[in-house]
Symmetry: C2
Subunit: 209 residues, 2 copies
Amino acid sequence: MSTPENAQPGQRLTPRGAATRARILAAALELMYVKGVNATTLDDVRAASNTSKSQFYNHFPDKERLVREVVAARAAQILERERGNLERLKSFRGLVRWRDALVQRNALRNGAYGCALGSMASELADQDDQARATLAQSFVEWEGLLAAGLRRMRDDGVLSPDADPERLATGLMAALQGGYLLAETAHDIKPMEIALDMALDHVKSFLTT
Amino acid sequence: MSTPENAQPGQRLTPRGAATRARILAAALELMYVKGVNATTLDDVRAASNTSKSQFYNHFPDKERLVREVVAARAAQILERERGNLERLKSFRGLVRWRDALVQRNALRNGAYGCALGSMASELADQDDQARATLAQSFVEWEGLLAAGLRRMRDDGVLSPDADPERLATGLMAALQGGYLLAETAHDIKPMEIALDMALDHVKSFLTT
DNA sequence: ATCAATGGGGACCATATAGTCCATTCAGTG
DNA sequence: CACTGAATGGACTATATGGTCCCCATTGAT
């Protein structure tokens, strides 16, 4: 049988096959970021990954599934990165470093493409409910990393007891996402800097020292 | 000649023709909002507007032009509305009313589709530079309305002299757009409320009374 | 009524795109 | 080496989609 009943997990997979699958996913990850999900065709992915049609359908039942795996992979990648940036957050300076890292990364492209997660959210939220759910969950986890750091700050007495970590985290995430969007549209990261700085200023108002 | 040299302005246009053009644009405006720009086909527009292919190409040279007119029309519509909501802004309570109006409107759909301008910005920014420029300009004008109101508040002594109206306006817009995105993704307007409230809290910190 | 110009209906075309299928090659195991 | 299942190449199909074209209808002016 050329097309496995279940093009997903299950049956055996040689290292060679696994490498092909990884190449396809990596190409799609990149293309869907820079061109957008809907504007990326399977042929684009095929060409960029140096694979053939049959290889694609050997590993993915259809395009929708590829999209969902791309969403999941991107979410995992970003959460991994953010975990590294936030798991030891415990001071306002740490929050500033977090801000700087995001701004610098986005400055490299002058804001182009926006947030890898946010742009997919905007494109898929009203089109693929499963993808939307994954994205929503990812934002929750991302905010959770921020909230955990803010909670540590509060518990350490850095932030006042009436600071609400979850609320602040949501506000920071909104400022970040809004900043990404304005920067992408303006081709200028200034709005992103302003948005984040304003959110940080708000956090600062809860500092005890 | 069936297709006018210049499918845009120029040659005569009867009321009948104008009505057809308006119907096409209105249908595209709606469809591109709920389905997204790229996911809206000319056939969708044709069906929704009860027109034929030749009618479309009588009034628009191609799809790209339609998209640009949709962007311009939406921007004009939103700026018109926001002008009404902001031109007399001169108190913090006015800002709260502005927030409430946006949240309520978005709550009707539980956040679905997001901001009509923001979602197009995300989709078109890296795809159609002319559309991107129009959208960027529209955001600037929208922020300008906010900034003008904030400046009135500062000049009236409602806000402290060190409040920066432009900065605050950009921060408010980012919070709004980020809030839209998170609400759209979560299918819950709560994040939008939190984002806007946090931005308003920041403005509040500049109140003199 | 006639005529010219605008508006309209819809068949038609070229291409892009998702998806199918099968013959062939490759790699591991007896 | 022979065999087997996975991996691959790539032709092929069906359909969607943007865009063209031709002819007919409507309308307003003379």
